[in-house]
Amino acid sequence: MPDIITLASLKKSYGSNTVLEDINLRIPEGAIVGLLGPNGCGKTTLLKILAGLIKDYSGTVKINNNEIGVETKEIVAFLPDASYLPQWMTPLDAIGYFSDFYKDFDKEKALKMVTDFSLNPKQKLKTMSKGQQEKLCLILILSRNARLYLLDEPLGGLDPSSRAAILDMIMKNYAKDSTVLISTHLINDVEKIFNRVLMISHGKLVVDSHVNELRSHGKSVQDVFLEVFPYVW
């Protein structure tokens, strides 16, 4: 399968603080990748670089063989860790917005999901709960037939049954043959869906492995995580 993501010698610092150091990575199309690591290890920074929200870095970053720009943003769907929609919008407004800008956006699918998930399409976001807003953001992303989905902590702050429901929603609704990159530190819940894991520690890529390979050694992803990050508490 061709590579959808290519990173070469990627480095990102904030002043004297190096957040990502010498990241080299190739991710093929169709992979479901877990981006794991403790808080502050660089997961979100990596996703934001791929989404085009951080431009000030060194090294090479390519998506579908293109530098980050208009062409990559057309095929990348990014879900940040909290709602980013203007509070005056309603779900209908947000769907109209996405429909206008993204050729791959399926408006009918979005409207159906809004109904299926019991959201009021005419309710302003500022009157919705945090969970409802995040659900709407996820609906918008999953209604795109993107080539690459970047999901930053989609399960954060949710109870176990909600986490299971969100995971189910993601797995049922993302465009098949697309690549999904999920950052999380809730490994137990997501381990079963990954076919590849990346672990970042202090800005460096310390584990890049297929899940089957880990399991063939009799280890779960959780086991490897605890070996790599024994100090995390």
Binding site: G15, L53, V70, V76, F78, S83, Y84, F101
Partner: protein
């Protein structure tokens, strides 16, 4: 795609202005009705609120330029705006154009109720003849025909330059204040950068005025551009007013340069928190 950017930018910013513009419209209608029904009491009661509304309309439009740019690019909403599949310069230009639109609308909305006040005063003074005299006196001090058209064009262009410079300075100040170097105190540095730009533009204007002082001169006979100073012109003409063109040229160039720089920073140096 650019049309869609304009559409959504207009929709997003309309909410800042709708309340105050509605207040201005109501004030205009009230003043218009009071003129038709000759209700002088309304005129005297409405003067102070009208002044407040006029100031509020303009202040809201100027503040919303800052607020909207910061919110949609450098706050949480930046995640939505900057992941759109559009070029940074298209995004920037759409914001500049819509900011222009609202500022111009606000100037019109601020002026409109006062135009009815002037008509009220004319009616109260029973001043048809008086008005004719006033207009005649006014006309004696101004050139006519093509020169008047030139004066109007000059004031329209300089007003547009003033709006462009405000928008350009604000966008650059907000952008620079949110780069890694200054992002620890973005509001403070944003204000300081804005003030610094004004200072630098002022200094460059003074320098160019020393070297080549270009003015737009309005006399009782004509309006024209001149490099001569006021004293020299005064010997030959009855000068009504003299406007330094240097400042407008420097402002226009600075605004365009700063907008290009803003686009460059957004394209290559952005770090959304």
């Amino acid at each position: 795609m650019f049309g869609k950017l304009l559409k959504h930018e207009l929709r997003h910013t309309a909410r800042y202005h709708s309340a105050i513009l509605t207040a201005s419209l109501i004030a205009t209608v009230i003043m218009g009705l009071s003129l038709i029904f000759k209700a002088d009491t309304i005129l005297s009661m409405a003067m102070f609120p009208l002044i407040v509304v006029a100031f509020a309309v303009i202040i809201v439009s100027l503040v919303s330029v800052i607020k909207n740019f910061y919110e949609t690019i450098y706050s949480r909403q930046g995640y939505l705006t900057l992941t759109l599949p559009v070029k940074c310069n298209q995004l920037l230009i759409s914001k500049v154009l819509i900011s222009f639109f609202w500022i111009i609308i606000s100037y019109i909305a601020a002026f409109l109720p006062f135009s009815f006040i002037l008509l009220h005063i004319k009616r109260q003074l029973d001043a048809d003849n008086m008005t004719d005299e006033l207009v005649q006196t006014f006309k004696e001090f101004l050139p006519s025909g093509g020169s008047m058209a030139g004066i109007v064009i000059f004031f329209v262009i300089t007003s547009l330059i003033s709006i462009l410079s405000y928008v350009g300075y604000v966008y650059f100040s907000v952008t620079l204040a949110n780069t890694r170097l200054l992002s620890k105190h973005p509001k403070l540095f944003g204000v300081l950068v804005f003030m610094a730009i004004h200072f630098i533009v002022g200094a460059v204007t003074d320098l160019t005025a020393e070297l080549a002082p270009l003015s737009f001169v309005i006399t009782t006979d004509s309006a024209f551009f001149s490099f001569r100073d006021a004293l020299e012109l005064g010997r030959e003409y009855v000068v009504v007013n003299l406007y330094s063109v240097n400042s407008y040229i420097v402002e226009a160039l600075a605004s365009v340069g700063l907008l290009f720089t803003t686009g460059y920073i957004m394209e290559h140096k952005i770090n959304i928190k």
